[in-house]
Every structure is written in structure tokens, then in C-alpha cells.
């Protein structure tokens, strides 16, 4: 199978220390994959290594078969990898419309940018409704919708989302995960990091458990949710509360990936 993104033996970190200690991970096109794991496992670092904010010390990051280890973030963006960081990433004193325009900053063809903004606005109506309002005046959930819409302006091959539900109220969280499912249904590929593991896995086709800088387990989101060991270690006690909302449970008709103790392979 041709993977859209492949990480092989990626070791990366800041200063002298390694945070990722040999990450192996494959992402298939058109799927949503959720990275879960304890704090400090290196989940956000994986995304930074893919978007180019951090370069791996060793190992391979491949996108559409091309090794992109040494490419600058801008070059990766031009190849279609867009990264939405954990903190609010809109420009608060710019209008929603200007924020969307910034989503296509690297795109030379301005007509294409306008067309994609219209398409994104069709998926996320808030973009039309609040087009001329300052982004900072939107609620947290609305800002997240605009952030997701902004990624579409690049017509991305891969969307990296770092903790998309952080700081949101339950209703907004619900909307965000529903939006992620809509992205997947329209053929986008999403890799997300989520502390709210139950909701993240429920919205994902696949899940990967990252622990101490290594991917320990890869399986379908549904099977990870049902795995008692995963539930005990990473999902917390209590019954699954995630995504009882209608219509957004992912397609779990796929045959589960092999669950290994050494990562995706």
C-alpha cells in the first residue's frame, strides 16, 4: 500500500535531549489518524518534525514517497503539508477574511485562493457569516472552525492538527470533531494529536499510541477504544463518552491494522 506519509526511525529533540526515540508511523491517504499518549510522550514533536519546525537527527520523513527531512517549513507547505498548532493560531486583529487569505499566502495563483476560500466557506459557514469581523472577537470554537477552513485554502495533502479540542467547551469540541470527520469524508488526510483521547480516537480511522518517544501501538480508532489495556492506560476510567453524536462515527468497516508492540510495521 502506498502511504501518504511515512516516518521511519525518526529521532528528534531539542538541545542535547531526544524526545522522539525512533518513531515509525504510516498514514494512508484519505484517513484520519489520531496520536494519543501521555504528556511528554512527544506527540506535538511528531507533528513539528513533519511540518519542518523541527528537523530529525536521524530517520526518514517521507511525503508522497519523497524524503522531506531537509526541507524548510515553507517548502513542505508548498508540497501540501499544513500544520495547525495547539495554541490559537488565527491573527486576532485581522478579519476572518484576511485570515483565510493568509491561508493561501504561499499560493501564487490568487484566483485559486479566492475559489478555495469560497469552497472552504461552503464547508464552514462561519467564514461567510463573520467574514468581516476580527478573528479575535470569535469564540474559541468558532476560531477553530476558521482555523480548519484556513487549512483548506492551501488545498492540503496532509493536515496536521495539534490538540484541536483544547480549551473548548463540550459543544464546540463536538463541532470540531464533526468537522474533522467532514474533512476526511471529502478526501482529506488528517493526522491529529489529541489529549482528549476518546473523542480523538472516535473521530479517527486509525489511532497510534506514542509513549516515551516511540509508537507502541497502531490500530483502528474503534479497536483502540475497545482495547481494555489502552482504555486503562490512556483513556482514563469510566465509560466512553465520546462521540455519541450521530453521524460522525468513523467508518470502521476497514480491517484493523496489525497491532504490534513495535509500531506500525
Amino acid at each position: 500500500m502506498d502511504f501518504l506519509l511515512s516516518l521511519q526511525g525518526v529521532i528528534a529533540g531539542y538541545g542535547a535531549g531526544d524526545i522522539l526515540k525512533g518513531v515509525d508511523l504510516d498514514v494512508s491517504p484519505g484517513t484520519v489518524t489520531c496520536l494519543i499518549g501521555p504528556n511528554g510522550a512527544g506527540k506535538s514533536t511528531v507533528l513539528k518534525t513533519i511540518s519542518g519546525l523541527l528537523r530529525p537527527r536521524t530517520g526518514d520523513v517521507r511525503f508522497k514517497g519523497e524524503e522531506i527531512n531537509r526541507l524548510a517549513p515553507r517548502a513542505r507547505l508548498l508540497r501540501g503539508i499544513v500544520h495547525v498548532p495547539q495554541d490559537r493560531s488565527l491573527f486576532p486583529a485581522m478579519t476572518v477574511w484576511d485570515n483565510l487569505l493568509m491561508g493561501g499566502y504561499v499560493v501564487k495563483d490568487q484566483k485559486a485562493v479566492r475559489r478555495r476560500i469560497d469552497e472552504a466557506a461552503a464547508v464552514f459557514p462561519i467564514c461567510t457569516r463573520r467574514a468581516h469581523d476580527q478573528a479575535g472577537s470569535l469564540s474559541g470554537g468558532e476560531q477553530k472552525q476558521v482555523e480548519l477552513a484556513r487549512t483548506l485554502v492551501l488545498d492540503p495533502g496532509l493536515i496536521l492538527l495539534d490538540e484541536p479540542s483544547i480549551g473548548l467547551d463540550p459543544k464546540s469540541r463536538h463541532q470540531v470533531f464533526a468537522s474533522i470527520r467532514r474533512l476526511a469524508e471529502s478526501g482529506r488526510t488528517v493526522l491529529l494529536v489529541e489529549q482528549n483521547a476518546r473523542s480523538g480516537l472516535a473521530a479517527s480511522d486509525f489511532g497510534a499510541v506514542l509513549e516515551s518517544g516511540v509508537v507502541r501501538l497502531v490500530a483502528t480508532g474503534a479497536s483502540l477504544l475497545e482495547d481494555p489495556e489502552v482504555a486503562r492506560l490512556y483513556l482514563g476510567a469510566g465509560r466512553a463518552t465520546a462521540l455519541t453524536m450521530g453521524g460522525i462515527t468513523p467508518d470502521t468497516g476497514r480491517s484493523p491494522s496489525t497491532i504490534t508492540s513495535e509500531g506500525a510495521r
Binding site: L53, L77, V84, D87, S89, F91, A93, D98, Y105, R150
Partner: protein, 292 residues
């Protein structure tokens, strides 16, 4: 009452040039978190360039602005590339104070050697023309200076709000990491932004040279005023710089006209101290990013 209104007219007309100088200063701070202590020296260099173009070629300082702004834009980009870019990001805010002060001294030295230290002024044919409107005197040169400063601020506003480059600057000011993730090259924006700040200094310098006599040491007085205006308005806010300039300029002129010129400087510093005591972030500190 007459003196008060005359003071307000004078203050408002003078405010434009200070707003222009301070907008460059605040723009540079907004983009790079660099307090540019060379901004005053750049204004004076702009004034000297206008002076030279006027005395050597007879070019009116107001018409010389396109030439001086382009020259100073290039100088600004060069200063950023040579002296500021090599600084590590984590030390930049502190070290840039020393570096830009050194640049100010370097420019002062170059100006002293080139134009000597005697005081210069640009005396155009309309330098002493004035109109009397309802009993209030409006000098033509100040009116021109005001209109030109407003036009330059308008150009800056349109550049920041209506162009792709302007959007990139505002994005960098508001959320540098996010801007980088969307493909904005912060180093390029910083260099061009510093150039833009220097270009506004050049435009302001041409106007300043028309209004006041100057020499190479005039930048010390200017930079203290500029920093005060920018602090008053809120670091990083162009709208704040305009309001700060209006307050500084009008209060100085009103006190000078109505009471005594010797009190005018002090009045402004009292206002600055009060504002900083009550609102340390400046008048527009919290909404600073909105203006840029």
C-alpha cells in the same frame, strides 16, 4: 483663548511629522520586538539627504521624498541584515538596544563628517509664507508638512492593510509562529519591515528639515521624543503612535502658546508619567496589534 486655539492648530499641524516618525518606530517594534534607537538618527539623515538634494539640485524637499525613502529603505534593510539578523532570537530584544544605539552613533559620525556639525536648515521659497484664517496664523510650510505626513501615513496604512506583504507583516506582528507555519519568511519580513521603518524616517526627515533647523546631534532630542510618543501610544500600535504624537505635539504647543515655551517640554513628560502610572502599557497597549 486665542493663544490656546493657535497652540492647538500649531500642535495638530506638527503632530503629523511626529506621527510619521513614530509609526516607523512602532512598526519595527511590532515586527521584531526591537526598540530602534537609531530611528532619530535615520530621521536626521533623511533631513540631510533632503537638504543635499535641495542645495545641490534645487529639488524641493517634499518632491525629494520618493528619492530619500527609497535610499533609506535600502539602508534600513542593510542595517537589519548586517547588524540585527546575526543576533540570536532570544537575546534580540536586549542586544538590539545596544546595536541600534551603535548604529545611531555611527550615523551621527558619518553625518558629522559629511555635513559638519553646524546647524542646517532648508529654506524654500514658501518657508515664510503664511495665511491668516479667522485671525489664526497658519504657516504654509507647516500645512504642507502636515498634509504630506498624513499622505505618507495613508500610504503606510494602505500598504499594511491592502497588500499581501502588508498582511504578512501584520500576521507576523500578531502571531509570529502561525505566520511562519503559513509560509511567511519572518527573516524576510523583518528585513523589509525595518526598511519600511527607515523609509518612514526618511519621509519624516524631509518634513522635519523643512520645519526645524538640525545638525547631526539633533537625533538625541528626537529619539527621546519618539520613544515617549511610542510609549504613550502603546508599543507596537500605529494608531497609538498617531494619538501619542497628537498629545505630545498639541500639549507642548498649547502650553508654549498659552503659558510659556519653557514649560512646554515638561508638560508633555508629566502627561507621559501620568499615563504610564495609570496605564503602563500605554494608551493603546492592549489593542496595539489591531493598528498594525
Amino acid at each position: 483663548m486665542h493663544a490656546l486655539i493657535q497652540g492647538i492648530i500649531l500642535g495638530v499641524l506638527t503632530a503629523g511629522v511626529y506621527a510619521l516618525m513614530a509609526s516607523g518606530q512602532t512598526l519595527i517594534f511590532g515586527i521584531m520586538k526591537v526598540v530602534n534607537l537609531a530611528q532619530g538618527a535615520m530621521v536626521i539623515l533623511g533631513a540631510y539627504l533632503s537638504y543635499q538634494l535641495f542645495t545641490s539640485f534645487g529639488i524641493d524637499p517634499l518632491l525629494a521624498i520618493p528619492i530619500t525613502t527609497v535610499a533609506m529603505f535600502i539602508l534600513g534593510v542593510a542595517v537589519q541584515l548586517l547588524f540585527l539578523r546575526p543576533l540570536k532570537a532570544e537575546d534580540r530584544s536586549e542586544l538590539s538596544l545596544l546595536v541600534t544605539f551603535a548604529v545611531a552613533l555611527l550615523l551621527e559620525g558619518i553625518m558629522s563628517v559629511t555635513w559638519k556639525t553646524s546647524v542646517r536648515s532648508i529654506n524654500t521659497g514658501y518657508a515664510n509664507s503664511s495665511w491668516t484664517v479667522f485671525g489664526y496664523q497658519i504657516t504654509l510650510v507647516r500645512l504642507w508638512a502636515f498634509l504630506l505626513s498624513i499622505a505618507a501615513l495613508l500610504v503606510l496604512y494602505l500598504l499594511l492593510n491592502r497588500t499581501r506583504f502588508g498582511r504578512a507583516i501584520r500576521a507576523t506582528v500578531q502571531n509570529p509562529e502561525s505566520a511562519r507555519l503559513l509560509g511567511v519568511e519572518s527573516s524576510r519580513v523583518s528585513a523589509l519591515g525595518f526598511g519600511l521603518g527607515a523609509a518612514t524616517a526618511a519621509a519624516a526627515g524631509s518634513v522635519y528639515g523643512l520645519l526645524y533647523p538640525f545638525n547631526s546631534g539633533s537625533h538625541y532630542d528626537l529619539i527621546s521624543r519618539l520613544l515617549s510618543i511610542v510609549l504613550l501610544g502603546g508599543l507596537g500600535s500605529i494608531g497609538g503612535a498617531v494619538v501619542g504624537a497628537l498629545i505630545v505635539s498639541t500639549s507642548s504647543a498649547v502650553v508654549a502658546s498659552a503659558i510659556s515655551p519653557s514649560w512646554s517640554e515638561m508638560t508633555f513628560f508629566v502627561i507621559l508619567l501620568l499615563v504610564l502610572l495609570i496605564r503602563p502599557q500605554g494608551l493603546f497597549g492592549t489593542t496595539a496589534r489591531g493598528a498594525i
